[in-house]
């Protein structure tokens, strides 16, 4: 952060005041606006982590594409995993408006210098896990993401609007999948219950550490990147899930889970933060596999990307002359 140590000038002070006023007035900050270095760095970190989560998150579900038990489910799952690639692309684009290239971000992911959501370090052991991911993991993600549609940084907020719009079907398909299993044969029902038992606690951890231990929360809230606290969102999620589980005919694996009339919320048991920290540190069940596969796809694809770049370089003269720098296409979709 070379610029962080540069002495602040009167101009900087003025810029800072304008920035603060814009954030206070709920205006959006746009790419070419002046912004504090730490705000930019926070956004890069958060958007990159979000983008990485989308593309690493493809893996546990893609694990079941080739085994999906009906053609309808197979189509839904492929469309969903494709959406995740698309969401990764929207988010990398948003990060790029902050002046950082996708290659650089991928490099940081591959070398472990940037993180992705820990939830994807858990394995998908049965078909029901696809349903549990849709219902619980996507459900938690949506709870986290909806407020981000109003985040102070314009490109991030716009990417999230698009993501949330497209994601509405993800959670529903997961719920519907689990419902079919729960109402199916005893074997299918057991598969569904087992998946919910394994995914419930990791889903609660997706909201991050408790508020009093959350490193970035206060500043992010002041900047209106973050709109609600971790614990607030986690509570909201639990309250939403309890009746949904009942309708599914499945139980949530928490003996302490009960309605608290006084608070108007559900109480729930303590979260095992030791496990959370271990998984973040790289000791989850699939950390190694996820990064290895990502790196392998990237490395094995290098010759393809090089070929396309080489082809473009050879033909760039003609292409540019042809299109005058702008290219247009009517979308011939049915």
């Amino acid at each position: 952060m070379a610029t962080a140590t540069a002495p602040r000038t009167a101009d900087d002070e003025a810029y800072q005041r304008t920035f603060d006023a814009a954030v206070a007035a709920d205006e959006r900050i746009e790419p070419r606006d002046w912004m504090p270095d730490a705000y930019r760095a926070t956004l890069v970190r958060q958007i990159a982590q979000h983008a990485h989560s989308e593309i690493i998150g493809m893996q546990p579900e893609a694990n079941w594409i080739t085994r999906a038990p009906s053609l309808r489910r197979k189509a839904i799952l492929m469309a969903k995993v494709q959406d995740e690639a698309g969401h990764g692309l929207y988010l990398y684009s948003a990060a790029e408006t902050l002046g950082v290239g996708r290659d650089e971000l991928l490099d940081k992911l591959h070398s472990g210098r940037q993180k992705y959501s820990s939830i994807f370090n858990y394995p998908t052991l049965t078909w029901a896990d696809v349903g549990a991911i849709g219902w619980l993991v996507d459900g938690a993600a949506i709870t986290n993401q909806v407020p981000l549609c109003r985040c102070s940084y314009g490109p991030y907020a716009r990417a999230m609007v698009r993501v949330c719009k497209e994601e509405s079907f993800h959670q529903r398909q997961g719920y519907e999948l689990l419902l079919a299993l729960s109402r199916g044969t005893p074997g299918q029902h057991a598969m569904a219950q087992d998946a919910v038992d394994r995914w419930w606690w990791p889903s609660l951890m997706m909201f991050g550490p408790p508020d009093d231990e959350s490193a970035h929360s206060a500043q992010s809230t002041a900047w209106k990147i973050k709109r609600h606290s971790n614990d607030e969102l986690r509570q909201r999620f639990v309250d939403i899930c309890v009746p949904q589980a009942k309708s599914l005919g499945l139980t949530l694996p928490d003996p302490d889970l009960r309605w608290n009339e006084e608070r108007g919320h559900h109480d729930f048991g303590p979260i095992d933060w030791t496990e959370f920290k271990e998984v973040i540190k790289g000791n989850g069940p699939c950390n190694e596999e996820r990064i290895t596969q990502r790196r392998r796809a990237h490395d094995e694809g290098a010759w393809v990307r090089e070929a396309a770049a080489a082809h473009a370089a050879k033909h760039s003269g003609t292409a540019a002359a042809h299109t005058g720098g702008r290219t247009e296409k009517e979308v011939g979709q049915a």
């Binding site: 893609a62 594409i65 492929m78 469309a79 044969t185 080489a310």
Partner: protein
């Protein structure tokens, strides 16, 4: 649609689409670049959509997809070939999507039982063909390495292209007549890409026929085992 569905033809075209869709689905999470994850999935989803319509014309789509034995599948051997490197996938796409596009254009122009499906599929396959052509040009005329890989892939898969032009009962179109147009189209793309048109035979040495007759290659059995395992493990279950 006529009262009698040409089941043999519906299964042949449906199995082609189903099997290739499955193979393309195997790329998800492994593609050379993120944009290509999205593109390959689009193609796989189009093909799966076609497969579901076609198999449903012949019976129950899931029973047909998940409960038939290998010998009952009548897809081309070309589409069951493993993905290999990206060049093999693109060569397979080039060969097959060119064929499928020519075929659906023909079917869409007629008024047979496949006309309605073909009207939609011809647009989809035009896009698949374009995708394959664009990549063939870039790999063939990219780096030395990509040229070599594309050349190897085109040659390796060439011997599976002959069976595309075998007659299919009830299809209502002369597949043999597509061969000239196919050779011209594929040849033109390969030449633009600086790649030689493979010279070997367009079919293997099966005297008993090939994919259309239910004779498949070794990798297909493993593919089906993976695809059908879960469904078969829960007989009669709904999903």
């Amino acid at each position: 649609m006529t009262a009698t569905v040409p089941v043999t033809a519906a299964l042949a075209l449906g199995d082609d689409a189903l099997v290739l869709s499955h193979r393309l689905g195997e790329w998800m999470g492994h593609a050379p670049v993120l944009e290509e994850e999205v593109a390959l999935a689009n193609i796989a989803l189009d093909l799966l959509g076609q497969a579901r319509v076609l198999l449903s014309m012949a019976g129950d789509e899931d029973e047909l997809a998940y409960l038939r034995e290998e010998r009952a599948f009548s897809n081309l051997q070309l589409v069951e070939q493993p993905n290999g490197d990206f060049a093999h996938t693109i060569a397979r796409q080039l060969y097959f999507s060119t064929y499928q596009h020519l075929l659906y254009a023909e079917l869409a122009a007629g008024d047979g039982p496949f006309a309605a499906l073909a009207a939609k599929a011809v647009k989809e396959t035009a896009y698949h063909r374009d995708h394959a052509e664009q990549w063939t040009l870039r790999l063939g005329d990219g780096t030395d390495l990509s040229h070599q890989r594309m050349r190897t892939a085109c040659t390796a898969l060439w011997r599976f292209t002959g069976e595309m032009f075998q007659p299919v009962e009830g299809l209502g179109t002369d597949l043999g007549a597509l061969r000239t147009g196919w050779l011209e189209a594929v040849g033109a793309v390969l030449r633009r890409a600086g790649l030689p048109v493979p010279e070997g035979a367009q079919s293997g040495a099966w005297t008993a026929g090939a994919g259309r007759q239910g004779l498949h290659t070794e990798p297909f059995g493993r593919m089906l085992a993976e695809m059908q395992h879960l469904h078969r493990s829960h007989p009669g279950a709904s999903w």
